[in-house]
Structures are given as C-alpha cells and as structure tokens.
C-alpha cells in the first residue's frame, strides 16, 4: 500500500486520539512519500501516551504539512521521493507497524547505500520545520543537575574533564545537605511552574523523599518491571525462528500491563518507563546506563525544564575467570566504574540539554556527591576556569541561572 491509498479504516488499530488526528489529516498524509510517512506515523500512533510537548510538536508538524500547497509539498519532499524502497517495504504493514517499518527501512537504506541521502533529506526537512517554529516565551530557564559518584570515597582521576571547558570548576563546594538543597531547588521550581512533566528527579537507586509535584523515576522501584521483562525476553528468545528483529517487534508491542505495571498508574508515565527498557540498550542491566538513557529521553521527549539525576553504583561486570570459577553469590557493586560512567552521563546530559530551545540561558551543575568538587555551567559562569572559593550548592544553583 502507498500513502495515496490511505483510508479512514486504515487507522482502525490506532488509539482514539491518534486515530482522530490521522483521519482529520488523511488528505495531508496521502500527499507524502512512503519513505517519509511511517516516520510521522511512528510518532502519531503513540500520541495518546505522549508528553504535552510531544503532542504539541506533532500537532504543529501536521498543521504545517497541511498548509503546504502542492508545489511546496513537491519542494519539501523531493529528496524523500528520490529514495527507492524495496517491494517488501511497500507491501509491509506500515500503517499498523510504523516503528518496525522505520527499522527495516533503515536496514534497507544501509544496504543500498542510501543512508546518507536519507539523512540529508531528514535534516533538510527538520530545518524547514525549525524555520516555521515561533519562539515560545518561558521565563523559567532550563536547569540540569547531575549528581555522580555515590559511595566513592576518593577519586584520583581528572573529574568532569569534558565539562570543565564549558564552565567553572569548583573545588571547595560544601557537601553538607547537598542533595537535599538540590532537591529543594527543584521543588521550588516545580511550585513556581506547575506544568505537567516539566520537573523531574531520576535516581539510579532508591529515591529520597521529594515533593509529588516532581515527576520521578527510580531504578530500584522498577526492579519488578525489569525482571518481568527479562523473563519475557528469555521466553521469546527460546521460541523457534526468533531472531533479533522479531524480538524487537515483540518488545515494541508490549503494554505496561504485560510486565506487571499497575493499571492505575499514569498511562503516559508508565509507557515512558516501559520504553526505557524496551528501547534502551543496557538499561535493564546497569543502573548508570538507565540513568543516562532516562535523562536523554526526558530531555528529548518531555523537554524538561528541570532535571535532577542522581547516579548510583551499578553492578560489577564479572570477568571470565570468576564466571568460570562458578562464583555466584550476591551481585557486587562497582562504585568507581560507576563514577566514570556517570561522569560521561553528565556530559551527555548537558549536551542533550543544549539541544533544546533556550539553551543560551540554561544552567547546569555536575556535583561529586559527598565531596567538594562540582562544575557549574551557565550564561554568566566563566568558562574553563577554576574556583577555590567556598560555596554551597544552593548558591551554585542561583549562580548558574544568574
């Protein structure tokens, strides 16, 4: 089937809101090339479970496409139309399974050396949409905080080496009530700006007490979900004919209830949490990976205005000789390895934050938990400098947003 053949019935399997939007914009969808439409439907099919910012983005994108005249459609999509697709892709059930289509399309583009052309088409399309965007004033400047190194007593390496050149490295930060004061700052922002899913706290272990105005995700609390998912994956893998692509298809179809998430949970948040495990790589195994990936997804999807993440020690990777020796026992933790993971995670946190609107005014802090070292990045913070001045974290928060 091609986009021009789309009918209202084609979207029968979509959740109500997504179906409504698709049917309302059938004419628009019919005008677009097959190499592009499934990418749009991949977002649309989950509309009912998306964050407000994502919903708004989808609505604006479809409205922009609807407003295009025929010659503009041709201009916008010439590059996509030039992408050739295989017959198996054109006959694929891309309306019902747009994410799977996109995955198979990517494999096909790799194999036919069309990936670079597709990337360029996608980038040009993104640039066109970007030019149409109108700035949305928001007085609350974005704040990112990464707390790393829990349970590490000493560290001899060069801490925050990637971040230092972008801000000021403090060596005399008071660790007293550090986490508490950072959480208080997040709570204060959540009180002032009560938009849903705008203020987040992610913990790689068990969360400390916090206001329910903050959206929270914690690795330990999701242990039952992880275990249920891993069991399910193992069961699927043992079935005849199951390969990696089939497994991904199965995972993409999972609902929160399938892995024991309670029905009374916020459906948007439970879907988000499930996807952290079904779409993330390593999130099921290592808490540091979970925190890094979660921060990326919160910024990419929810465009959080405040995001505090706290890394915790992940389990230690056991070397070959230990495995062969049959040493079972409790999974040990690797605090120092986790610090290195978290340091890189903090760098990616900052990079992902800088991709969002208003990056010029945003602030960022990475703090070595329980210690005196932190790096602070913000519009008024000198770059590539070091400060030995005594300071506490509350003051640091106010400095990066000054």
């Amino acid at each position: 089937m091609l986009p021009r053949d789309l009918k209202a019935e084609s979207f029968a399997s979509y959740p109500p809101e997504a179906r409504r939007i698709a049917i309302d914009h059938l004419e628009t969808l019919r005008r677009l090339p097959l190499s592009f439409v499934p990418s749009l439907l991949r977002e649309l099919i989950d509309y009912d479970y998306k964050f407000p910012v994502e919903r708004s983005t989808i609505e604006k994108e479809i409205s922009a496409l609807k407003s295009l005249k025929d010659d503009e459609v041709h201009e916008w999509f010439t590059e996509f139309a030039a992408i050739s697709l295989s017959s198996s892709l054109t006959t694929f059930s891309w309306v019902d399974l747009p994410a799977q289509f996109v995955e198979q399309e990517a494999a096909y583009l790799w194999s036919t050396h069309q990936l670079d052309s597709f990337r360029k088409a996608a980038k040009d399309y993104g640039d066109r949409l970007e030019r149409l965007k109108e700035p949305e004033p928001n007085d609350l400047r974005r704040l990112g905080i990464a707390v790393v190194g829990r349970d590490v007593s000493t560290y001899d390496g060069l801490l925050f080496k990637n971040l230092r050149k972008h801000g000021t490295y403090f060596t005399s930060v008071s660790p007293q009530n550090g986490l508490k004061s950072l959480l208080a700052a997040v709570e204060k922002r959540a009180e002032a700006d009560q938009a849903r899913y705008a203020h987040w706290y992610v913990d790689g272990g068990s969360p400390v007490a916090h206001s329910d105005r903050i959206t929270s995700v914690a690795y330990d609390a999701l242990a039952p979900v992880r275990n249920s998912l891993l069991k399910r994956m193992q069961a699927e893998i043992s079935r005849p004919g199951m390969g990696p692509e089939e497994l991904r298809t199965v995972l993409a179809r999972l609902n929160p209830a399938d892995v024991g998430m309670e029905g009374n949970m916020d459906p948007v948040l439970s879907r988000f949490q499930l996807k952290l495990f079904t779409e993330g790589s390593g999130t099921q195994i290592y808490s540091t990976t979970f925190v890094q990936w979660t921060s990326r997804e919160i910024l990419r999807r929810a465009q959080a205005r405040t995001l505090l993440v706290r890394y915790a020690p992940r389990q230690r990777q056991r070397p070959l000789n230990e495995l062969l020796a049959g040493e079972h026992g409790e999974a040990e933790l690797d605090p120092s390895g986790s610090l290195i993971d978290a340091e890189m995670g903090a760098y990616y946190h900052w990079i992902n934050q800088q991709r969002l609107p208003g990056s010029e005014g945003s602030g960022f802090i990475a703090w070595f938990e329980g210690h005196n070292q932190a790096v602070a990045i913000g519009p008024s913070m000198p770059r590539g400098t070091e400060s030995n001045s005594a300071i506490d974290l509350e003051r640091l928060v106010s400095l990066v947003l000054a």
Partner: protein, 387 residues
C-alpha cells in the same frame, strides 16, 4: 553554547584524521608519508613472498578517536602509542562506507567489497574472501588460512558460496567462546553473561550444529586437551584474551600464513557503561602489543610477517542527535565511519604517517599485492603506499 554539527561529512572526516595525525607526530615522533620517497619496501622477490605471512587484527568492535588517538584518549592506548606506532606505517584516514554492523563490516573487510548481507543472519559473504583468493591462487592448504572470531555469528566468515570459490576453499574458522561453551557444558558455571554472542544483540545467539568435531579439532590441531583449555581459560579475564590465547596456539601449532583475528571486547560499549568501554580499549591495546611481541618471537613469524591493525569502524559522535555517543554505531556519521590502520613488520616503513584517504575495502587488494594473489572481484583499490 548551542550544540550544533555544522561540519559536512567530509569536513568532519578530514578533521578527525588530521587531529589523529598531528597527535601521532607529536606523541610518537612519526613523519609524514609524503616526505618518504624510497622505493616500496614491499617490493620483494618471489622467494621472500613464499615465506610472507600476514596477520590482520580488527581492533573491535569499534572505537572512537577521542578514546584512542586523540590527546584526551592517549592514556587508553599506551602500548600502541609507545611501542607499536613508532614501528608502523600509520594511515590516518580510513573510511568505511558500508553497513556498520560487526559481522557485515568484517565480511566487507575480508572480501574487499561492501557486503550487504544481514548482519545478524548466519550467511556466508556474498563475494569471495581473501582466504579463498589466497588459497586458490597460491595453492595453499586449508591449514594455511585461519580466522579467530568472537561469536557464533562469524562462523561463516571464512568462505563465500561463489562459484569457482566457495565451500572448502576458504579459511578455517575457530570460535573460542563457542569452544569454551562446549568445554564447559554440564558444569555448574554461569557463562550466560560471557557467552552471549555479541553486544549488538546481547540476548540472541545463533544456534550452530555440531560441537564434538570442534572439540576434537582442538585436541588434534591445537594440541590442547579440553581440560587444559578450560583450566587456562580460568586464568583469563575476557573473551578477547581467550581469542589471543587460541591465536598464539594456532601460530605455534599450525603457523598459518594468513591469520585473521577479530577482537570484540570493546563492543561492550553497547551496554552504555563508559568505564567498561574504556576497559575494553585498554585491554585490546595490551593484547595487540602482546600479539605483536609474539609475532616477533615465534620462529615461523619473526622477520617475515606483516601485521595489520584496524578497527572495523568507529562509533557515533557525541554530537549527533540521532545517536547516543559512544554507545552505538548507528548514525553513519563521520566519527562512526572514519578510522585508522596501523601496518607493522615485514616491509612496513617505520614511523611514517600517511594522510591519503583509503577505504577499508582497500585492505584485500593491498594484501593480495603483497602476497601475490589477485582479488578479482574486490572493488577496493591498491594502497600505493604499501605495494
């Protein structure tokens, strides 16, 4: 700072390779290849060619400049920098324009053609491999070409199904992790974590038939009992260490003229744990140096062996929004496509850096020219600086 990525693909690739070259000059005292005007060091008579051996090591699975040859990564590769680079011809700008999956990319390296096979399927390369050209044209026995590979997914890397080449005419493939799994069968050890086939799809392991024959081969070819193998494995910390152990055993017992070793510890990066990725790079650096020392001390190899070390590809840049930095190699950006190659030993000019852009598929025709066979179906070009 607003994060952007305004460099074009080719500009970024050039920047990557220039940074690497400048660092190498500073750190290892290497000179630019353009200043070296002697005749090819590989020009040799037929008598030398007959004894020539080649060892190819893929520095896998994929490492970026910033964790290796860039200034901030130098602490991770002390052996390659201080011991190997000064003895090598170093190519700063090697591009992989193919599919960035480990099996398909390694198959492309081995055929000299950008293969398009399914990275996760148990299929043979679609074009003749270097091992088939080598054996057919030089009339070498099967014992003269070996592959040591990390995972079950690589078990068909040794030969294609192309008419005139194909089954029985390529390399023998040994999968150390599979051997370890067979040797440990029935024992109360938790090898699931270790023996997962690869890091790209860690929960999926292709099923291979057989087993008894391979264990038998281990005893007859490697002169290694199952018990000795299992007990030595208990002293090692990683699958690549196991691969090196098997490779050294092969060199001692079979002395193949063409030996291909695929490392993959580094690909633990797919788990998202940066410290494990760095550990993998440091280990691979050490193992490459250990292999190079073995080559220099094994009588069958010393003085007549050329060693190639190259990653199959890189990993995604921190700044490509489509990826997640070091974790994967999915974006096809410059950082994931641009790599390097180190050539050491017989015929290699020492301490020379070449900026000339080459492609990973150029490896096969270049080795062919060195060893005296013609990879007729390869689409790669001769690397003139080598032949």
């Amino acid at each position: 700072m607003k994060v952007n990525h305004s460099f074009s693909h080719s500009e970024a690739a050039c920047l990557v390779s220039r940074t690497r070259r400048e660092f190498l000059r500073d750190a290892a005292g290497l000179v630019a290849g353009g200043a070296v005007l002697q005749a090819s060091p590989f020009a040799r008579g037929e008598s030398v060619r007959k004894k020539r051996k080649v060892v190819v090591v893929t520095f896998g699975g994929g490492a970026r400049d910033q964790e290796t040859f860039a200034p901030e990564g130098q602490e991770n590769i002390p052996h390659m920098l201080s011991e190997m680079a000064p003895q090598s011809s170093f190519f700063t700008h090697v591009t992989n324009k193919g599919i960035l999956g480990h099996y398909v990319a390694t198959a492309s390296l081995a055929t000299g053609v950008y293969e398009t096979l399914n990275n996760f399927a148990s299929v043979a390369p679609e074009h003749p491999t270097i091992f088939e050209y080598f054996r057919k044209e030089l009339k070498r026995p099967s014992s003269d070409a070996w592959v040591v590979a990390p995972s079950n997914g690589f078990h068909r890397i040794g030969e294609s199904e192309v008419r005139g080449f194909g089954p029985g005419q390529g390399a023998r493939v040994i999968l150390p992790k599979r051997l370890l799994g067979l040797a440990s069968a029935g024992r109360d050890v938790d090898l699931e974590h270790l023996l997962h086939d690869n890091y790209e799809t860690p929960l999926y392991t292709p099923v291979l038939a057989g087993g008894e024959v391979e264990l038998h081969q281990m005893e007859t070819i490697l002169k290694l009992s199952v018990g000795d193998f299992a007990s030595h494995a208990r002293t090692l910390s990683s699958p690549d260490e196991l691969s090196l152990y098997i490779a050294k055993r092969l060199m001692r017992e079979e002395a193949p003229s063409l030996l291909w070793i695929t490392m993959h510890d580094i690909d633990v990066a797919h788990s998202g744990a940066f410290s494990l990725y760095i550990d993998g790079i440091r280990r691979t650096d050490r193992l490459c140096a250990e292999l190079w020392k073995t080559i220099q001390t094994e009588p069958e190899y010393a003085g007549n062996t050329t060693m190639f070390v190259l990653p199959d590809f890189g990993r995604d840049s921190d700044f490509d929004a489509g990826g997640n930095g070091f974790q994967h190699h999915r974006t096809g950006d410059a950082a994931s496509r641009t790599t390097w190659m180190m050539v050491l030993g017989a015929g290699a000019r020492q301490g020379v850096v070449y900026d000339t852009p080459v492609q990973s598929i150029d490896l096969v025709p270049s080795i062919g020219a060195m060893m005296g066979f013609s990879p007729s179906q390869s689409s790669g070009k001769l690397i003139r600086e080598l032949v």
